[in-house]
């Protein structure tokens, strides 16, 4: 009975402890890594623009469209109007859209600037009289406005959350899409420098 086989557990224990620890730690590290990435992704939801979707239309030419005027106006809006205007801004708005009212003063102020590029309006899915009243009450910063009653042109522009704002270069390509309320900060830090670059 002197030559008893060494117990298995003892053999297992005899392997270098540091190496075993490493192997146990590996799956845990992988798990922690994936979990951290996911938590970081969720955390980004707090960011105002985290849920903004990249536009499929960036660097693409303006979709072709011709829209009738808003009630009480003489002229509507077409892609040719925007192309003829050179570097310009197209703002999608509606009277039923609360955030549009929030950003409206920004556009009123911008339109008065001496170096302002033409600002066009796309009135999305609005009742004619509501749109007319809205513009009468709050003011009209737009050079031309197209009334997109059934929202089809908005769909062509990939609009999913009014207000949206597009910056268009001199060749009629869409360079930037801004989703949601335009703030003073967004305008000053992103939109205007971009326009200056496009013009220069």
């Amino acid at each position: 009975m002197s030559e008893q086989p060494e117990p298995i557990v003892a053999q297992e224990l005899a392997r270098p402890i540091a190496r075993r620890r490493l192997w146990f730690a590996l799956p845990i590290l992988v798990f922690v890594g994936i979990a951290a990435a996911l938590v970081f992704g969720l955390g980004r939801q707090g960011d105002e623009h985290a849920r903004d979707l990249p536009s499929a239309l960036i660097d693409k030419p303006l979709p072709a469209f011709t829209l009738p005027p808003v009630e009480g106006y003489e002229v509507g809006l077409s892609d040719a109007d925007i192309k003829a205007a050179g570097v310009s801004i197209l703002n999608v708005f509606a009277s039923w859209c609360g955030p549009c009212q929030v950003e409206h003063p920004i556009w009123m102020a911008y339109a008065k600037q001496s170096d302002a590029v033409p600002l066009f309006g796309l009135n999305s899915k609005d009742q004619p009289e509501n749109a007319a009243n809205w513009l009468k009450k709050l003011g009209d910063p737009y050079k031309l406005i197209g009334a997109d009653r059934d929202g089809r042109v908005s769909i062509d522009f990939g609009v999913y959350g009014v207000p949206e704002t597009f910056v268009i270069d001199a060749t009629g390509r869409i360079v930037l899409k801004h989703i949601g309320v335009m703030t003073r900060k967004d305008l000053d830090q992103t939109i205007l420098p971009l326009i200056a670059r496009l013009k220069g």
Partner: protein, 156 residues
């Protein structure tokens, strides 16, 4: 009393007209409608972002459902309809994202992790069995001698 009832009836009948009539109008052709409904399930509602346009009550989802029906009725293939929306709204509009470098992690991550996990389990199981086999050394001469009588008389 009578006219009150009559008025109530009339009001009940016109009430639905007052709310915006956001009711889907199915296509007359059963086969085309079935195709449109299937496509609705594959298109994401961009407003709610977690639902297909079939499940969403958002105005945009309603408009896109109508648009899909229109295009299907006009003779577009399923792929053409999806391409139409993809050109406007990008990858996100498709509930099943296309396979491309940006989505490799999404498509191949889970199977790759499964294979790695499977290999790890395989390796660990083999590792733990090997010392077991090694421990089964043949009996020594002393052990055999001690065992023999026990086996012969059933341990008596």
């Amino acid at each position: 009393m009578r006219w009150v009832l009559a008025l109530a009836t009339v009001l009940l009948l016109v009430a639905p007209l007052a709310t915006r009539a956001a009711v889907d109008r199915p296509l007359d052709d059963r086969a085309l409608e079935a195709r449109a409904l299937k496509l609705h399930q594959e298109i994401r509602c961009l407003v709610c972002q977690g639902q297909s346009i079939a499940d969403s009550n958002a105005t945009l989802a309603f408009d896109l459902r109508a648009l899909v029906r229109e295009r299907v009725a006009a003779g577009d293939s399923d792929a053409t309809v999806l391409d139409f929306l993809h050109a406007r709204y990008g990858d996100f509009v498709l509930l099943e994202p296309p396979v491309k470098p940006a989505t490799y992690a999404l498509w191949f991550g889970p199977p790759v992790l499964l294979v790695i996990g499977g290999l790890a389990v395989f390796v660990v199981l083999r590792r733990t069995r090997r010392p077991n086999d090694a421990a089964l050394k043949p009996l020594s001469e002393a052990e055999r001698r001690a065992l023999e009588p026990l086996l012969r008389d059933d341990g008596r």
